[in-house]
Amino acid sequence: MAVGKVTFSKAEREKLAEVLWLLNWISVVTGVILFSLGLFLKVEIQKWAEVMSEHGTFYVPHMLITTGLAACCINYLGGQICLDCADTNKFLRWKLVMMPYIVCTFFFTSCVLAGALMCYSIRSQLEESLFLGLRNAMRYYKDTDTPGRCYLKRTVDMLQIQFQCCGNTGYRDWFQIQWISSRYLDMTNSAVVDRLRSNVEGKYLMDGVPFSCCSTFSPRPCIQQHLNNRTAHLHYDQQSQQQNLWRRGCRQALLDHYTGIMESIGLTVLLIWLFELLVLTGVRYLQTAMENVLLLGDPDLESYGWILENSLAEMARSNFNIIKNLGKCYQVDDDPNINVPTAAAEREVPSQQVQVPVTS
């Protein structure tokens, strides 16, 4: 009971081969698109890699890049095969390669699907990575003299300016870390010394934020210091507070940015996957139709094409049997010449004397 059985006349087979040749070339183009999407994503992640804690997010663009390259190669080969399939003689060249090619393409297509699903599922891991990365970046903001961390201040400032965000979750995150280096603190000043002493760990904490948190939409000059002290600034009411600094946290801003990119990439990859599946189905039909024509002997006859020869259950059973019998290749159960003692031997009929009539 074949799955998806369709009849193909000679003309239809040739048409199918031509159409598949064209579709394979279009798939090469989509493979290039896949590759460039992976490259684009890699560049985007690389831009802000300093505020991400681990590089686990790199496997998505790498997967897309490798799948894109594989798509180009596989579909180029597929195009060559389909071009030759129109003619029964040329098909003989590819006969042995076809089945492995189809299995390979099937696995490759599932890789494309996996890539698409990964794009959607990466959000939680990205959030965790950004949370840790931003926390560290803010902690090392003041260390502009430490090798390896010199440019973290610049990166965080540019991030806050470009994405219009402040801090990890909000601007209050800056109140909990010392972002002014001790190099620029006047230790002879009593106010500074008091503040340092009042903190358990000896850190200089203040209710102030860096300049990059300032909002350009505020109607008044930016208030960066004494943010918790209402009386320190004139008319510092609720509305002034709302407009003064960027309200959004940088983690949320970056998450939205990357989720947006990955969702559009995921959608494109899903469409490419559907297209690849279509091409794979067509190639399978072409392969089975050509093989059946060869079995019939006459290339001008109609032949059947199918996706699976037997139903899925039978195929699973036969595969299972093959696997079961794989380990039994040196046992000789089926040899009929060996005298196998059976239960019937005990009921052996005693030999009777055969009366042979004596002829005189």
């Binding site: 201040k153 610049r154 300016i161 190099r183 300032c214 350009t216 939409f217 930016c222």
Partner: protein, 347 residues
């Protein structure tokens, strides 16, 4: 006095027509490119229109767009003409069209060159326009409650952050302007009152700059206020401090940006001008060569092609005379009337 005579055997004419057809299609693409470049330049100029006092500089992109559109038409006709040039029967129908066509084409091609020259020549005009625009922008920075000036603060802040500049000539321009609005000044404070009293016009001037002047590359947190007071900040010397705020003025930054853009565009347009010129010269040679063939039975004879039949001055006068006659027509009628009026009096 024929200018640039050249002999054209039949094969050479055919090759010229074929090459010209290809060249004219390239020139069509180049014309579209010119139009696009004009659009790009205009968009870029309009983005910063709030800090420009006048729109004189817009003549450059406008000219580029006009020339781009015109060259699309010119090259379309050029390709049509050279397609018909190889057919001696079809070529004569272009006869009356070609003289005004060449006049218009030369005019627009010269206009292309003028646009490039203008883009260099108008640097001074751009600079003065930016000077006035930025000065006003800085002056009205604090007026976020005045209609028509609400967005000056936002524009100036964004400009300074994007172009990494501060003030008009440099950051000291902020010292001469009150950029903190009176709405946010505590008039009960002694410090504020003293400062306002010490100023002749009663303005609150500070030696400080807005946050958008801060340089993210600075190793220390940004110092915005009391910039000239070394003792106000620990380990700070304003004479040697280079990384704290942007030292470049926004006028210089914007002029450099726009001149760079116009130089790049100018280089492209210059090469398009050369291409367009060669199309017109080749078409002229083809036209004159084909005109010599007209009326002859054997279309494969060798003919002569030239650029100009008479000398340069004579040709220019030939084209200008109809134009001048049109403008001087009224005067000549009046002269005729006065002479005819005078003669009866003398007789």
């Amino acid at each position: 006095m024929v200018v640039m005579k050249m002999k054209f055997p039949f094969q050479k004419r055919v090759k010229l027509a074929q090459g010209l057809w290809l060249l004219s299609w390239c020139a069509t693409v180049a014309g579209a490119t010119t139009f696009t470049l004009g659009c790009v330049l205009k968009t870029e100029l309009r983005r910063r229109a709030e800090v420009m006092d006048n729109a004189d500089i817009h003549i450059v992109p406008n000219t580029l767009m006009i020339v781009g559109l015109a060259s699309l038409g010119i090259n379309y006709f050029a390709s049509k003409i050279c397609q018909d040039a190889l057919d001696a029967g079809r070529f004569p129908r272009w006869k009356n069209f070609l003289k005004p066509y060449f006049a218009a084409s030369c005019f627009f091609t010269v206009l292309m060159l003028l646009a490039v020259i203008m883009s260099y020549a108008m640097k001074g005009s751009l600079e003065s326009s930016l000077k006035i625009g930025l000065r006003n922008g800085i002056r009205f920075y604090k007026d976020t409650d005045t209609p028509g000036r609400c967005f000056q603060k936002q524009n100036i802040d964004r400009l300074q952050m994007e172009f990494q500049c501060c003030g008009n000539n440099d950051f000291r321009d902020w010292f001469e302007v009150q950029w903190i609005s009176n709405r946010y000044l505590d008039f009960s404070s002694k410090e504020v009152k003293d400062r306002i009293k010490s100023n002749v016009d009663g303005r609150y001037l500070v030696d400080g700059v807005p946050f958008s002047c801060c340089n993210p590359s600075s190793p220390r947190p940004c110092i915005q206020y009391q910039l000239t007071n070394n003792s106000a900040h620990y380990n700070y010397e304003y004479q040697t401090e280079e990384l704290n705020i942007y030292l470049r003025g926004c006028r210089e930054a914007l002029v450099n940006y726009y001149m760079g853009l116009m130089n790049t565009i100018g280089a492209g347009v210059l090469s398009i001008f050369i291409l367009q010129g060669s199309v017109l010269v080749s078409l002229r040679f083809l036209q004159t060569a084909m005109e010599a063939v007209a009326g002859k039975e054997n279309t494969e004879i060798e003919t002569e092609g030239y650029l100009l039949e008479k000398g340069v001055k004579d040709t220019v006068m030939e084209y200008l005379n109809p134009v001048l006659k049109f403008f001087l027509l009224t005067n000549q009628v009046e002269e005729g009337a006065t002479t005819s009026g005078a003669t009866p009096a003398t007789t």
